[in-house]
């Protein structure tokens, strides 16, 4: 009976997820034509093509920097917002439901929204920065490599903050207030209470969500593809947008599959870690 119940789900997953991964591994070892059809076996030839190109190493390095920067800022901001919303004040419920909005909104549409906001001449971001005196000479965001990278990064962070904040808030609310009270009686300062009570008790939550956030950030195709298409001149590409461009813009399916295999290997390690700690947290909780 278990078999019968599981069959449709497993069949779908195998046909449209597991088999395509095997097929990508296969394509990565072959020379392909412009439609992605296999021509002949070339072993690790596609990988060699990639490794010889400087731009591949740049994209790989950028993916790592992208992920590390974005996840650290998201975690830090999530912690700040989580702590703020854990304080009892009037309007807290409203604040909580407003904080969710960037996560609740559709990511592709948010990316288009930001693309317009970043517009140098008519966009409201640079105008607001100038008018309020926050930044008198802001860059032309999407036209130049470094500003474009940070613009993309900012949007990715903006989308990712609410989830972090909500999970951390839930974690904070599960800490018993008695702990803080007795620490206060013992004369612990606010900082000491945070460092010796809050942080250690949040450790498990933080571990699981930073791993999850790492996966999402590393995979963020929509923001970069819609805002800059990896441009100007590949300077904002990360691995996932690079795979897509290689395949569907340059029609070089072999090397594209090779990048996909490398990306898959990296992602597998992170997702197994995530699943491992998730189970561990659940078993202990």
């Amino acid at each position: 009976m278990a078999c019968l119940f599981l069959l449709p789900a497993i069949a779908l997953l195998i046909a449209f997820m597991v088999y395509p991964i095997f097929a990508v591994f296969q394509i990565s070892l072959f020379k392909t034509d412009k439609l992605g059809r296999i021509i002949r076996f070339i072993g690790v030839g596609n990988f060699e093509i990639l490794f010889r190109r400087k731009v591949f190493w740049e994209v790989l390095l950028r993916s790592v920097i992208w992920t590390v920067l974005a996840v650290s800022v998201k975690t830090l901001m999530g912690l700040v917002i989580g702590l703020l919303l854990n304080v009892e004040f009037k309007g807290r419920k409203l604040a909580r439901s407003l904080v969710i909005l960037p996560w609740a909104s559709s990511i592709p549409i948010s990316a288009m929204l930001w693309q317009w906001t970043f517009n140098d001449e008519y966009g409201l971001l640079n105008y607001t920065l100038k008018a309020t005196g926050i930044w008198s000479n802001p860059p032309h965001w999407l036209g130049y490599p470094l500003p474009a990278f940070f613009a993309n990064l900012y949007v990715d962070i903006w989308i990712g903050i609410p989830f972090m904040a909500l999970v951390i808030l839930a974690g904070l609310q599960s800490i018993s207030p008695d702990l803080y009270e007795s620490a206060q009686i013992d004369g612990a300062t606010m900082w000491q209470r945070f460092y010796y009570i809050t942080l250690p008790l949040l450790k498990r939550v933080l571990l699981v969500v930073t791993l999850l956030s790492t996966l999402w950030t590393f995979n963020d195709f929509n923001v970069i593809y819609i805002m800059t298409k990896g441009g100007p001149a590949n300077t904002t590409d990360i691995l996932v947008t690079f795979i897509y461009k290689y395949a569907f813009t340059f029609l070089r399916f072999g090397p594209a599959a090779a990048i996909a295999v490398i990306t898959f290997a990296i992602l597998s390690v992170i997702s197994v870690l995530y699943a491992f700690f998730y189970f561990k947290a659940e078993a202990r909780g």
Binding site: F5, P20, L98, L101, G171, L267
Partner: protein, 276 residues
């Protein structure tokens, strides 16, 4: 007590600043969607339109096949959701209730699979879709959206099913209820909140999906909303006010639905790490 008041003021200031930063693009969307074309291309731009162009909201429907895009998205998301529910309920029941070898590792692999990046498989999935003759058809998107939300749905429902006490089910079975009747009349009603969560999750995921649509759909008449809006951004000029008006209408239902399941998502994704 005085220290507390000071803390409260700091909390208020910080919260307001953070909210201003987080909500800024939504303000831009609202403001732009009411601007006339002259005001959109005014430099320096205005925060609030000097004259509200209400007609944007009707004109955008006439100028673009927006209704078509909405219908396509609705078809894709609805069918993906139905298919997902039909497949995931029995699977989730099996992993949570029936004892069989490899159950634990199957659950583990669902959690890992849920994290697969669609971009990694899109190359070969594109070939599968072409081979099945589904290229440039809405059914290709229905299918992939079902599959890419399936693992998480099973995972979520498994959590709900496991929370239902075994005794209720056993009592029904002893009373001569068949397994199927037990599931339909006892398990499913109790697990309804979980099922609703899965339905909304799949619907939103499919509604927002962009990359597969970009790859599989060629003709304008079959574009879902995300892809349709993406093509508003032209090479030479973009009618930003119409894009923002359309975006506004496309995003409202998603946001409303999302707020209904946000708490369950937080719990499901962060695991036992978070207790209520």
């Amino acid at each position: 007590m005085k220290g507390n008041k000071r803390l409260l003021i700091i909390v208020y200031i910080l919260t307001i600043v953070i909210l201003l930063v987080l909500l800024f693009p939504f303000f831009v969307m609202l403001s732009t969607s009411f601007k006339s074309v002259q005001e959109v291309y005014t430099s320096p731009p205005h925060w609030i339109p000097h004259k509200f162009a209400w007609r944007n909201f009707t004109y955008v429907w006439k100028r673009y096949p927006l209704a078509k895009y909405f219908i396509n998205s609705l078809i894709i998301a609805s069918f993906a959701t139905i298919l997902n529910i039909i497949v995931c309920i029995p699977a989730a029941y099996a992993v949570s209730r029936l004892r069989f070898r490899g159950r634990k590792s199957l659950l583990f692999s669902f959690l890992v699979v849920q994290m697969f990046s669609p971009v990694i498989v899109v190359i070969s999935l594109f070939q599968v879709v072409v081979k099945l003759g589904l290229h440039n058809r809405l059914s290709s998107l229905i299918l992939v959206n079902t599959v890419f939300t399936l693992a998480f749905s099973i995972w979520m429902l498994n959590g709900y099913f496991s929370g239902i006490s075994m005794e209720i089910e056993e009592a029904a079975l002893i009373d001569g209820c068949s397994r199927l009747r037990t599931i339909v009349h006892i398990i499913l009603p109790i697990a309804m909140p979980g099922i609703v969560t899965v339905i909304i999750y799949t619907f939103i995921w499919s509604w927002n999906e962009f990359m597969f649509a970009l790859t599989f759909i060629d003709s304008m008449a079959r574009r879902p909303l995300t892809l349709g809006l993406y093509h508003f951004v032209g090479r030479w000029e973009t009618q930003w006010h119409y894009l923002m008006t359309a975006a506004f209408m496309a995003v409202i239902p998603v946001i409303l639905l999302f707020t209904l399941i946000e708490k369950q998502l937080v719990k499901g994704l962060s695991g036992g790490a978070v207790k209520e």
